[in-house]
């Protein structure tokens, strides 16, 4: 537990120390949200729907995914470039645990940031959202899938080193996948698509928030399977990459 606490404390210290940057990030997030709120863009109308509740859930989901892809990836890249990553590998905890801690901190920080922004915006607009509590379940399962994606992103960074542009491509490619309403697709396509990371959870949330009738058991099963599969895929790929970099001694080659 001390390892996770240490990771959190460091994140908080950096947040406070570079307050200007932290506040700028928040302002940027608020501006993005306002753009969605007053305008209309792919994220708001596409991922979840165009109501305020859908907008907030979609936005939170998107920023969380974005942070998992870019924040975690960039954090690992920076640690590796500076050499801190080697030092982290010399701690008496497994590398799996190390990156799990980093993923948790990333996801939580990103969620807190999104929630704070949402609260501020709801206060400013005077429109308080009421969303179906059922969406907490797919949201939680999404977090499990995100941990799996976190391991995958880390593996890509460790294997290929400089992957900044790749992370950006992934982010927007994935936005495209999430924008596609697979729940309306033919059964075969829908079933296959539901194996893609986060797709059944996002479809489930979209239908719950927009009051569309859906088969809850189907989405629950697919969401559970999806989260388990992606966590396993993430861990298996990570283990292979971890073994490979130790075999070749390439951890410090950045």
């Amino acid at each position: 537990m001390t390892t996770l606490k240490a990771e959190f404390q460091r994140e908080l210290i950096i947040y406070r120390r570079y307050l200007f940057s932290s506040v700028s990030d928040l302002v940027l997030t608020i501006l993005m949200f306002m753009g969605i709120f007053w305008g209309s863009n792919l994220i708001s109308t596409g991922i979840i729907g165009s109501s305020l509740s859908a907008l907030i859930v979609g936005f939170t989901l998107w920023t969380t995914i974005q942070n998992t892809c870019s924040m975690l990836g960039n954090d690992v890249i920076n640690n590796a470039k500076s050499g801190v990553l080697q030092q982290l590998y010399l701690m008496p905890i497994s590398s799996k645990r190390l990156f799990f801690n980093k993923s948790i901190v990333n996801v939580i920080v990103s969620l807190v940031q999104s929630v704070v922004v949402c609260l501020v915006l709801m206060y400013l607009t005077g429109q308080w959202i009421h969303f179906a509590p059922i969406i907490i379940l797919p949201a939680l399962l999404s977090l499990v899938t995100l941990f799996g994606l976190g391991y995958l992103i880390t593996s890509v960074v460790l294997k290929f080193k400089r992957v900044g542009s790749f992370l950006a491509i992934c982010q927007y490619f994935y936005l495209g996948v999430l924008l596609t309403q697979f729940e309306n697709a033919p059964a075969l396509v829908k079933n296959i698509a539901n194996l893609l990371p986060l797709v059944p959870m996002v479809s489930w949330m979209r239908m719950a928030i927009n009051g569309i009738h859906y088969n809850a058991v189907y989405y629950l099963i697919f969401s559970i399977v999806n989260s388990i599969v992606w966590v396993i895929v993430g861990i298996v790929v990570f283990n292979r990459v971890d073994k490979n970099i130790k075999q070749n001694g390439t951890l410090s080659f950045f």
Binding site: R17, S82, G83
Partner: protein
């Protein structure tokens, strides 16, 4: 014995060529001693350290820590080992020493309070208490290096590995480092360090490991190593006038004489037992200056690094 490395091998494939980075390396690290791991660039020092630390998987070989064979799980070694690697940030430069202590202590299972208490103790010991709340990147290179070592020592390990700890440090910082390592060794911390600063190694090391092209070519205590190369007693003697033939013949009965300049000679005793006799003879001559000369670690390493000289050539090294 704290650490025992047995027959460690590691090769890398670079295209068609297979390079042996570590070739049958075996050595032991005792508790409370400073061991200098010496060799030229690319000799395999850092690769060996990485293999010991499980940052690199060796092709074969065994590593024992406190007599326990480490196979896939290196936790026992990592729990008791602090490491400062070369040309790497070994801590977060945007945090203060106290914040770094909390972080690295946390990674080693210490709560924030214990980690910071240990850190304060270390800062006090190395006279850096005033820097405890200064962000690392504002500190000098030397201070940063010492703080990095403090971070490595945060959980009071038994073993400290330092890769080029004096790199980029000025004379004052090197002296501080010397003192620091001697204090740690006196507290029974085993230290394994690599360095190219041979005078630094000569001052502080108890043991010498010399590696060349991945092979260990010398292993022993520093005193043994120096004694082995300094069995002959050599003097550089300057006289007021050049020696006459008669004077030279007198000295040559117990020593070898080489004329260096017109009045300066290098006198090498055939045996240390003639030392008194030599001094008596010299006292009768018009002496200007006399100096004893001994081989430094630098010369010894130079000898070993020459092509063809290896561990088996130690004896010939005496007269090299």
């Amino acid at each position: 014995m704290l650490l025992k490395v047995k027959n460690l091998n590691k090769s890398f494939n670079t295209g068609k060529k297979k390079i042996m980075a570590i070739d049958n390396l075996s050595f032991e690290i005792p508790e409370g001693k400073i061991t200098a791991f010496l060799g030229f660039n690319g000799a395999g020092k850092t690769t060996s350290l990485k293999a010991i630390l499980n940052l690199l998987v060796p092709d074969k070989g065994e590593i024992y820590f406190e007599d326990k064979l480490l196979k896939n799980d290196f936790t026992a070694l990592l729990e008791q080992t602090g490491v400062v690697l070369e040309s790497a940030q070994n801590m977060f430069l945007d945090l203060t020493p106290m914040e770094n202590f909390a972080y690295w202590g946390g990674q080693r299972g210490l709560d924030k309070y214990t980690a910071q208490r240990n850190g304060l103790e270390l800062l006090r010991k190395f006279n850096l208490l005033s820097k405890k709340d200064t962000v690392i990147f504002k500190l000098s290179r030397g201070t940063q290096q010492i703080i990095a070592i403090c971070c490595a020592l945060i959980a009071r390990p038994k073993f400290l590995i330092l890769d080029e700890p004096t790199l980029g440090l000025d004379i004052e910082a090197v002296k501080t480092m010397e003192k620091m390592l001697q204090i740690l060794a006196s507290e029974n911390v085993a230290i394994l360090l690599t360095t190219h600063e041979l005078s630094f190694a000569q001052k502080i090391a108890d043991q010498i490991l010399l590696i060349k092209k991945g092979r260990l070519i010398y292993s022993g205590t520093k005193n043994e190593c120096l004694a082995k190369f300094n069995q002959e007693k050599i003097f550089t003697v300057k006289f007021l006038h050049p020696l006459s033939d008669k004077q030279e013949i007198g000295l040559k009965t117990i020593s070898k004489i080489v004329l260096l300049t017109d009045k300066t000679y290098e006198v090498t005793l055939f045996d240390k037992k003639y030392q008194g006799q030599l001094l008596q003879q010299l006292a009768q001559l018009e002496l200007v200056d006399i100096k004893t000369k001994s081989k430094s670690l630098n010369e010894i390493v130079d000898f070993y690094m020459k092509e063809g000289n290896s561990y088996d050539d130690t004896q010939s090294g005496i007269s090299a």
